[in-house]
Symmetry: C3
Subunit: 114 residues, 3 copies
């Protein structure tokens, strides 16, 4: 079990669940991009309520089937790797926003026996 | 499709799912406040386990009907807009905490055809 | 109702839903650690899609029963309290990563009547 400490960038992409890239959900297309680009990981979180660029209030209580709930895709990687995929992200986004923050990162090497 | 890069504040409000403001869920009242104040967006995330000020361990596995699961409301906007709604947030909170961080933001203008 | 403003650390632990510590889910063991160490709170978020160290694409649409979906555990507390539990966290992690960021925190004292 090894541990590495360093600096990283936490990128968070705020989009809607119904956003598309071509015929696919945008969040799926973004995760696929990050995977194929060799990024270390990505996590997609689905909001249970919220609103975005169009100020329509969404909730999963009344509108579960039709709501455009907000989603957040989180990626933790180096400035260089994120900059390398940014042109493709720009091409795929049709709204929404991205935040980027510097953070300290602790990485653990996977222990195969556990 | 236009892209704007600038500085922003990421505000994250940590409350419980059962917190109320009057007779309404607090998270709903906060989202309504942010919408009516013209903020750019808000995303409500519901935790699946956790604990808060009272150190009671909650999980959605055993206690789904009664649990006070933690929730996080995320808002990305300018320091000025967040400062303008802070007095109302202060009045509505009955516990919990808020974190605020500076971040780089990339905003995309919604493309109407996609 | 009292309000305190100060500096804090936001720690975010990225693991998989199927990660174990002994026979227990790792996220449960971590939340229990944080509760018993007297930390102020912890929130566990479950992703709906994503990938991690092994680059296997996960989604809850097709693989809900078997997927190793990503999870994020968020803890907001002082540098000192987080440093005190770090040796135990190191012992429990078998992969994954942790980010730590400084943030401004606003804490609200729970109001007993509401």
């Amino acid at each position: 079990m090894e541990k590495f400490v360093g600096e990283t960038v936490l990128m968070r992409i705020f989009i809607g669940e119904s956003d598309k890239y071509g015929h696919r959900p945008l969040y799926e297309a973004l995760v696929e991009l990050f995977r194929s680009a060799g990024l270390a990981g990505a996590t997609v979180l689905r909001g249970v309520a919220g609103f975005g660029a169009h100020s329509v209030y969404h909730t999963d209580k009344l509108l579960r089937l039709s709501a455009d709930l907000p989603m957040i895709i989180e990626v933790v990687d180096s400035q260089e790797k994120l900059a390398a995929v940014m042109p493709q992200i720009d091409q795929m986004m049709s709204g929404g926003l991205i935040t980027m923050e510097k953070a300290t990162v602790i990485r653990y090497n996977h222990h195969p026996d556990r």
